[in-house]
């Protein structure tokens, strides 16, 4: 099992913040932001020292919960400061990006990072449609097309035009191309039938997140079936499972900590907007409809002492088939850095060495 640390940047607000998304930009404290990014690098040096395989970053906007609106900027900065660890950029939100620009920046990043780049391409959470005014009803199609264009821009040796449904370019010929040829290890992230089929068709990895093992297994099973249909079999490392983990010295401690965590998602959209967007944004797990917007806190699927968690990881490997765990060891958005560092140390010393062979 490979292990990835999901870095969300821990912004510690000097004053209480409004709870709605988008969080007013005026509530941001530049000094606190500078401290958060500086602390991120210290933390990631420790993550590397503990022996994690990857550090992952993601794209989220307009709130301090995950303070990486441009994950490519974070990834480049992290890659420059750390020497060995792989940077997993999971991912750029494809439907509201310029796919050619994404292809260029990722190629540049892969080269600057000396090939230490892993890429996940995705559609983004429902609220992200509001950043950059993306029509939620077009998001799926734009994602598929954008991903295909990124792959083509990485690999097509001649200058070409793109006559798409949602994107049109007459001249594409990127420089640099990725260091890793034909391109960095790439995942289509998401549980949807469309995402799994895309990954299978293009021989990409598949990434699922947060849901219970059995539910995520429906998506990874569908993905593997589709890969077989296209005549290939993914390796375990081509299935990533992003999850929340609460690990403590004892099971009781871990459960108590989980119980003390907020049950509501921080920085939610207003109910009227959330309900309206839900009617326009269709989501599914291997073809079975699911809610577009998660209203509560995201589930935590690993809870317990190191012994318990090791067994849960074993079960995850069996059920989900994941060969990479992308872990959040403390709720994103929580400014309690001490709790995060304790969890990191416990996981890094008591769990990580024991799940290598799973």
């Amino acid at each position: 099992m490979k292990v990835s640390f999901f870095e969300t940047v821990r912004y510690q607000p000097p004053r209480p913040l409004p709870s709605e998304w988008p969080v007013p930009s005026g509530a941001y404290d530049p000094e606190a932001g500078e401290r958060a990014y500086r602390a991120m690098i210290k933390r990631l040096e420790y993550v590397e020292e503990l022996g994690f395989d990857w550090i992952s970053v993601s794209e989220h906007h307009y709130s301090p919960r995950i303070l990486t609106p441009s994950p490519i900027v974070s990834a480049a900065f992290i890659a420059a400061r750390l020497r060995r660890i792989t940077i997993a950029l999971l991912g750029p939100i494809v439907p509201h990006s310029n796919p050619v620009r994404v292809a260029e920046e990722l190629a540049m990043l892969d080269t600057l990072a000396q090939g230490r780049l892993v890429v996940g391409l995705l559609r983004g959470t429902a609220n992200e449609a509001l950043t950059y005014d993306l029509n939620p009803q077009e998001a799926r199609e734009r994602t598929d097309e954008g991903m295909e264009l990124i792959l083509r821009a990485w690999t097509e040796p001649r200058p070409f035009g793109w006559q798409g449904r949602h994107f049109r370019y007459r001249t594409i010929s990127i420089w640099p191309r990725p260091l890793q040829q034909p391109h960095p290890p790439t995942y289509a992230l998401g549980t949807s039938r469309e995402s799994c089929e895309f990954a299978a068709r293009h021989r990409l990895g598949c990434g699922v997140s947060y849901g219970p093992f059995e539910v995520m297994a429906r998506a990874t099973r569908y993905y593997r079936e589709q890969c077989a249909r296209h005549g290939w079999e993914p390796t375990p490392e081509q299935i990533v499972y992003r999850a929340n983990m609460v690990v403590a010295d004892t099971d009781e401690d871990a459960r108590a900590r989980l119980g003390a965590q907020p049950t509501e998602a921080p920085f939610s959209m207003r109910a009227g907007v959330r309900d309206a967007i839900s009617t326009l944004d269709a989501r599914n797990i291997a073809g079975e409809a699911r809610a577009a917007v998660v209203t509560g806190a995201l589930p935590t699927t690993f809870v317990g002492s190191p012994d318990t968690v090791v067994e849960q990881v074993r079960r995850c490997r069996e059920v989900v088939g994941a060969g990479v765990l992308d872990l959040s060891l403390h709720p994103p958005g929580s400014p309690d850095l001490d709790a995060l560092m304790r969890a990191l140390e416990l996981f890094g010393t008591k769990v990580l060495p024991r799940i290598r062979d799973i």
């Binding site: 097309e145 295909e148 035009g161 006559q163 798409g164 449904r165 049109r168 007459r170």
Partner: protein
């Protein structure tokens, strides 16, 4: 003429079938099989006199048939296997073919293709391939060898690009035929409110 828009034209001892629609500068489309008009032709027919011609073996027969039809200079599309005749015609009659579009060029135009003076293709040329076409690789050789040749990848189309994405096909073809290599300059408006 069996009915308006269709007919037979004599060329080098053969009768070639053709179908046509639209008005404007002549746009000749060579495709394998019987000539038939499609939604893509209807779109192109708004700007061009589209003539879909049964493809004989040789470029000379096409040239003769078009002369008989009163067509002297024309734009030319060659689809799939008919791309070979289209390319030969463009190479042999640069004064007649204003611009050339190859839709899903056949493997016969790849590296092993002999007897074609590639660099003598002086007409502006555009090669189209679809993203769902996992077989065609000829486009790279063509684009490398025909001076100034453009390549456009049509998303979510198989080898029959015009059938799969008629609007996308007609737009890029018409834009290229209108502006030749200047078609790389965008004219798509982005102004929301003045």
């Amino acid at each position: 003429m069996s009915r308006p828009g269709e007919g037979l034209v004599a060329a080098n001892g053969r009768q070639l079938r053709y179908a046509e629609m639209g008005q404007g500068p002549p746009l000749v489309h060579l495709q394998p099989g019987s000539p038939c008009l499609t939604p893509a032709h209807a779109l192109l027919g708004q700007r061009f006199r589209v003539v879909v011609l049964e493809t004989p073996d040789g470029a000379e027969a096409v040239a003769t048939a078009l002369t008989t039809l009163g067509i002297e200079t024309f734009d030319l599309i060659g689809s799939a296997a008919a791309g070979e005749v289209a390319l030969r015609l463009a190479a042999q009659s640069p004064g007649r073919v204003r611009a050339l579009v190859l839709e899903t060029p056949p493997a016969s135009l790849g590296d092993e293709f002999e007897g074609m003076p590639w660099t003598s293709v002086v007409t502006p040329a555009l090669v189209l391939i679809g993203t769902r076409d996992e077989v065609t690789t000829t486009h790279r050789a063509l684009v490398a060898r025909i001076p100034g040749c453009h390549l456009v990848v049509v998303y979510d189309a198989g080898p029959a690009i015009g059938a799969d994405r008629p609007e996308a096909f007609a737009e890029v073809v018409a834009d290229f035929l209108d502006r030749h290599e200047a078609f790389v300059i965008s004219r798509a408006p982005t102004l929301i409110h003045p």
